[in-house]
């Protein structure tokens, strides 16, 4: 284990955590509106998986997308500005929280129709194969998307055509208020879904960033070897409500359950690994956190000070004009 490596993973996870805590504050202050879905508790999945790929690989996710976007290296200022609906946002304020896109970093977007982006991921992989590039595609989605028809159609195409896509199911046990047992017939083994397409599938502890990275590395190798897609079921948990409209523990789960999972907070786990393996001290971590706090404060300031889009922007970007 390498000190710099682990500290940088910690920094990324802490950045997401801090960024989203701030977003929640800003939402309370009505600086941010619409739907805001926090990734808090699931940071290890995005950070671990994305740490395993190259800059020219593709990443695509659902509407709970801040974590994937930041893990991909997008500028926190531009992301926060997007949440504020400002002209300086990643998408000029047109996309918002659910539709972050950073094409330069091959972050191909967050999508708000559950499961609807899974065929897109398959298409990105198709393009890579068609152009004989050796890129892979990381496609993140919640377990709630697994029963959806478009997901299955995409799984079948990806397997049939051996496309270089890695499906990462973020199984946080709930789709809104519905526990996985009431949504997926074979809830005890979601990965089985992928296997029924001949897709190699494995489950991983989604709270352990190193385990997620290791499995993703394995998946990338398999995909590069031309054996086609890989399916990862990352067991994780959402510490906050489904969205800002939903309390942290609604009727559908108890305070105790949330507390139980918080004991396996992915940041806590990595902290312990770092400290017990003497790869860093509490002080090192505090330093990182201070630095990140400043970054996030600066992001908020940038968003605050940025202008809203000009009225004419309503009509631009509908079509590519030649």
């Amino acid at each position: 284990m390498d000190r710099a490596d682990l500290l940088s993973l910690y920094r990324q996870m802490f950045l997401i955590r801090r960024f989203e805590e701030k977003s929640a504050e800003m939402y309370a202050l009505a600086k941010i509106a619409g739907f805001l879905h926090l990734y808090i508790g699931e940071e290890a999945v995005a950070v671990g998986a994305i740490a395993a790929i190259r800059p020219d690989d593709y990443v695509i996710s659902a509407y709970r997308d801040h974590g994937h976007c930041l893990a991909r290296g997008s500028d926190p200022g531009k992301v926060m500005a997007e949440l504020f609906g400002k002209a300086t946002g990643l998408c000029k304020g047109k996309g918002g929280s659910m539709h972050l896109v950073d094409a330069e970093r091959r972050f191909m977007g967050g999508y708000a129709i559950v499961g609807g982006h899974i065929p897109l991921a398959t298409g990105l992989a198709f393009a890579a194969k068609y152009q004989q590039h050796d890129q892979v595609v990381l496609c993140f989605f919640g377990e709630g998307a697994v029963p959806s028809g478009h997901a299955h159609e995409a799984f079948n195409l990806a397997a049939l055509w051996k496309l270089p896509v890695i499906f990462i199911c973020e199984n946080n046990r709930y789709g809104m208020g519905t526990p996985v047992e009431r949504a997926i017939a074979l809830y005890s083994n979601v990965a089985e879904t992928a296997r029924s397409y001949g897709i190699m599938a494995e489950r991983v502890d989604g709270m352990d960033v190193l385990a997620v990275r290791a499995l993703t590395q394995k998946a990338v190798e398999q995909v590069h070897s031309g054996q086609g897609p890989f399916f990862i079921e990352a067991m994780t948990y959402r510490f906050m409500g489904h969205s800002m409209a939903d309390p942290a523990h609604g009727h559908y789960r108890t305070k105790e359950e949330v507390e139980e999972y918080r004991k396996r907070d992915p940041l806590l786990l990595l902290r312990q690994t770092i400290v017990t393996n003497r790869l860093g001290t509490e002080a090192d971590l505090k330093a990182i956190e201070r630095e990140v706090n400043d970054v996030v404060d600066a992001a908020v300031r940038f968003a605050e000070e940025s202008p809203f889009p000009e009225p004419h922007e309503l009509y631009t970007d509908v079509m590519v004009e030649e």
């Binding site: 946002g89 047109k94 996309g95 659910m98 539709h99 559950v114 029963p147 609604g250 889009p309 009509y315």
Partner: protein
């Protein structure tokens, strides 16, 4: 005596009364049960009617809508709640190719008595994939009835009629209406499908508006009356079959028509209403019909852009002034 209810409560009452009245009626959709509905419309239902009649589904709109259609074919009376109509696009094949056509294809042997309901149109800053008004699509399809009530009273009376209707009915609500209040006649009442309501009478101009846009139109009419312009405001309430008679009568009186709709302009329902009115009353029109519509763009997230994309009071007032040459 009439009760003051929110639109949400009115829908809740309508479904509750009908489910008590008819054991064949059941509610199915995402989060309708233990979660009490994504927008809390089915509050208390799973507690009263049990999970056999209040079914939480996986996120599979085609699957559970198709399941409900099959159940209706077998004699049940499903109410499908779409968390929003945006997701209904995934069930559109089931709705259009099955629900709307099964009676015809079977030569009248089968029928599909069901309601497909949920919020349409934009809320606040939900962005492009969550802010669409798709009523024109459903109105285009033979075999479907389409309802879009604007007030708690109309919501209750029309939902009860929809549940009792032996045909598939698309019932379009609005997230921004759920919290609005209004007087609702209490006890047992229904409102016939296919009847427009004159929400405000006036002689100078006719404004046709439905769902959220009715409230915008009424505000505009109020403001206009202050400087002596009396607008007659008509809410079709049922979009299909459309009560053209009521609209045309009003236009024959006022000679001027403004149609307000939140959806995209091109091929919106307003175009059909205009076409029908021109065909029925061309010689009575003292000015071309003016449509006030949503802008033809995907809905942006940013607040100022979103505000600019949706018709508001000012735009309706401006349209009325133009159509009455009072600019």
């Amino acid at each position: 005596m009439p009760q003051e209810l929110t639109y949400r409560e009115a829908l809740n009452q309508a479904m509750r009364e009908e489910m008590r009245r008819d054991p064949r009626v059941f509610l199915i959709g995402e989060e309708v049960g233990y979660y009490q509905g994504a927008f809390k419309v089915s509050k208390g239902f799973v507690e009263e009617f049990g999970p056999q009649r209040v079914l939480d589904t996986p996120i599979t709109e085609a699957g559970f809508t198709g399941l409900a259609i099959g159940a209706a074919m077998a004699g049940l009376r499903p109410i499908v709640e779409l968390m929003t109509f945006n997701f209904g696009i995934l069930a559109l094949d089931q709705i259009v190719n099955n629900a709307a056509k099964i009676r015809y294809m079977s030569g009248g042997q089968l029928s599909v008595p069901m309601v497909i309901r949920g919020p349409g149109s934009a809320a606040h800053q939900l962005a492009a994939q969550h802010s669409q008004s798709l009523e024109a699509w459903f109105c285009h399809v033979p075999g479907l009835k389409v309802i879009a009530p604007a007030t708690p009273h109309d919501a209750k009376g029309l939902l009860k009629s929809a549940i009792r209707d032996p045909n598939p009915v698309i019932f379009i609500e609005a997230q921004l209406l759920y919290g609005t209040k209004g007087q609702v006649g209490d006890g047992e009442f229904t409102i016939p499908i296919g009847q427009a309501a004159v929400k405000r009478s006036g002689r100078d101009v006719t404004i046709v508006a439905y769902s959220k846009m009715l409230l915008v139109a009424l505000e505009a009419a109020e403001a206009l009356s202050k400087d002596g312009l009396q607008a007659e405001v008509i809410d079709p309430r049922t979009l299909k079959p459309l009560d053209l008679t009521t609209i045309v009568e009003s236009v024959k009186k006022t000679g001027r028509l403004v149609i307000v709709e939140e959806g995209w302009r091109f091929c919106g329902l307003g175009a059909q209403i205009a076409d029908s009115v021109y065909a029925a009353a061309l010689e009575y029109l003292d000015a071309p019909i003016i449509r006030v519509t949503g802008e033809d763009v995907p809905m942006p997230y940013s607040r100022p852009l979103e505000d600019a994309a949706i018709p508001d009071k000012a735009r309706v007032i401006a349209a009325v002034r133009r159509v009455t040459y009072r600019t």
